[in-house]
Symmetry: C2
Subunit: 363 residues, 2 copies
């Protein structure tokens, strides 16, 4: 049964007549409509799922052609003055009395308007659970294939640019080269702003590429990902042009050991926090515990950051089809950082590593 | 009096003890903090403004260095588990009983948590008006200077790339060249996804650059903007490589005439809808009314789309310091489109045109 049919069946069980899907990745997941929102304040459309009828995509004329080519015959309704200018007629036509919406991707100000409208029309408005987000966690075979393609292309881009890395290039030059290569190779877009953080700049896990020029013998953190066919990749390599001194080598090995130990734990039934702990303990025992200040990993799919989070508090357990990053790091103010990140899917009895690249993983 | 002090005085008049500023441009406007949010679901911080004390920036460790360098000594509080893990202590410390927040940039799900927290702690939670958005409409002298710099750099980038335009280049190649040039020239980022829409693709006002190769004698719509010092530029030129046939020339002239007529109306006291109407009437009289399907223009500042909107319904009047785009267009399915867009600020008795470039404005 398709995901859409499962959702419709879920709506019927919950006695919900229709659901407004506003979250862009959920929208794409359910009907293939690909535009992302410029921002939540500038939506590119809403998917209206009926419990007992075919869904309708509601958008404006700017997106009509894209909607037609993405959704393969889905009924499309255009608005000129926002969702609420067309929703009443649709709900009446389909005799909807209970309408659900996604509170985690709905502005409070927009909610207030929707709420007033529903009260006026005597519709019941209900919060929709995180059913779709949860459903998205466990990837289908086709989704795993799409993620593999995304990772493989990302590694190809990394290799192309890595070959050209030279002392004296600026971080921003490298980031531009990476993002250009992504687009030339057919990626939809980077899945997040590419990070190139050299020397001391590597001490910031989310550094923004600067005009700093890369030096010899220093760690350079490169965190990059792309979107291909809707699906995201996310990979970090830390590389050195020149020699790796003993402190750097020690840190590389500690981070890599943490990564390998965490990967060993990946299988259905393991809790997210215990995967995080296995990596964190190694870094702690190596004396760098306080320098690993973020979660070990996160889910990846249509969004580059999804559930489940592999952090020290998440008690949920891994399930087949989940896809996560494993990205331990050590960040030392003024010195720099080392982060190593791979992506893996959970299989029936273990995991599948998407990455082939081993650049500077085992120094 | 600084904008911040004006806001604090407004809060006191409204008997609001503190305001949570979540909207990223508002945050930057009030304290200079520059990171944008990855998405509303991944905030890079919240600014807490007190009616009677200095503001505090609340963020996580990833943004600490940026926060320090942007805000010049502002008190910074870091959270590990989200805003609500640190807010109670802060509100108690400052004896806050009435807290305002921004409903137009607050997820409904996050609002529910905040609401429950406030009820539990017996704080009063109030919707904050659009005071800051309205305040941002009328730019200061420094902001006008920043916008001029942004437009000037954007035009420089346009010229650099326009010189290299050749038949046979793909739209995406041109878009990449534009965005690279922006970054090399020091722009923070494009202010929106660059549009390069050639031939029939120009019929979509918001076309996404494709692999289509540019042909001779067809209109190519290039809509581009960048962020410099936080401020956005936004410009559209339609260019032709080769000859302009008589139909294309007629359409160019009609659009340009609509633009010039609208610009003539720009001065304090004119209503937004009458500016829109003056352009729309010309296109209508030229026989292409239904092919101009969007608003004439929009405000620009820290955001590339701000109020006021120059559309056919907006009764608000222009005021000195407002900055708007004037961008009429004609879109003909299968044939293509012509859009011409400049930016202007409203002065005491008229307007100031930011643009110098005249490429293909008067064919």
């Amino acid at each position: 049964m398709s995901v859409l049919k499962q959702l419709q069946s879920y709506l019927r069980r919950k006695k919900i007549d229709a659901l407004l899907v506003t979250q862009p990745d959920n929208r794409r997941y359910l009907c293939g409509y690909s535009p992302h929102d410029v921002s939540i304040e500038e939506s590119s459309g809403v998917l209206l799922i009926f419990a007992k009828a075919d869904p309708i995509l509601i958008t404006d004329f700017r997106y009509l052609e894209q909607a037609q080519s993405d959704t393969d015959g889905m009924h499309i309704v255009l608005y000129k003055r926002g969702l609420l200018s067309v929703l009443p007629a649709l709900l009446k036509k389909f005799k909807i009395t209970t309408l659900a919406y996604e509170p985690y991707y709905y502005l409070h100000s927009a909610y207030l308007k929707l709420f007033n409208f529903c009260r006026h029309e005597q519709f019941v408005l209900v919060d929709f659970s995180d059913y779709i987000l949860k459903r998205r966690e466990q990837k289908s075979h086709d989704e795993i294939v799409a993620l593999q393609r995304s990772v493989t292309l990302n590694e190809r881009v990394f290799h192309d640019v890595y070959k050209t890395l030279r002392v004296g290039m600026s971080e921003i030059e490298v980031a531009i080269a990476i993002e250009n290569s992504m687009r030339f190779h057919g990626a939809e877009r980077p899945s997040f702003d590419t990070i190139v953080a050299s020397g001391p700049n590597g001490a910031l896990p989310h550094a923004v590429p600067s005009s700093r020029r890369i030096c010899e013998n220093e760690p350079i953190v490169i965190d990059m990902g792309l979107v291909l066919g809707g699906y995201c990749s996310d990979m970090t390599r830390t590389v050195v042009l020149g020699n790796v001194d003993s402190k750097t080598r020690f840190i590389f090995r500690l981070v890599r050991q943490a990564q390998l130990c965490a990967m060993d734990k990946l299988k259905p039934g393991t809790s997210c926090k215990s995967v995080d702990k296995s990596a964190r303990d190694i870094i702690k025992n190596g004396g760098y515990g306080p320098m690993f200040g973020h979660a070990l990993g996160h889910g990846v799919g249509l969004a580059v950051h999804e559930t489940p989070s592999l952090n020290m508090r998440n008690q949920r357990v891994l399930k087949p089809g989940m896809v996560v990053t494993i990205e331990p790091g050590i960040y030392i103010p003024e010195w720099g950082g080392v982060r190593l990140e791979n992506m893996a899917s959970i299989t029936q009895d273990g995991y599948h590593l998407f990455n082939q690249d081993t650049t500077f993983l085992d120094v």
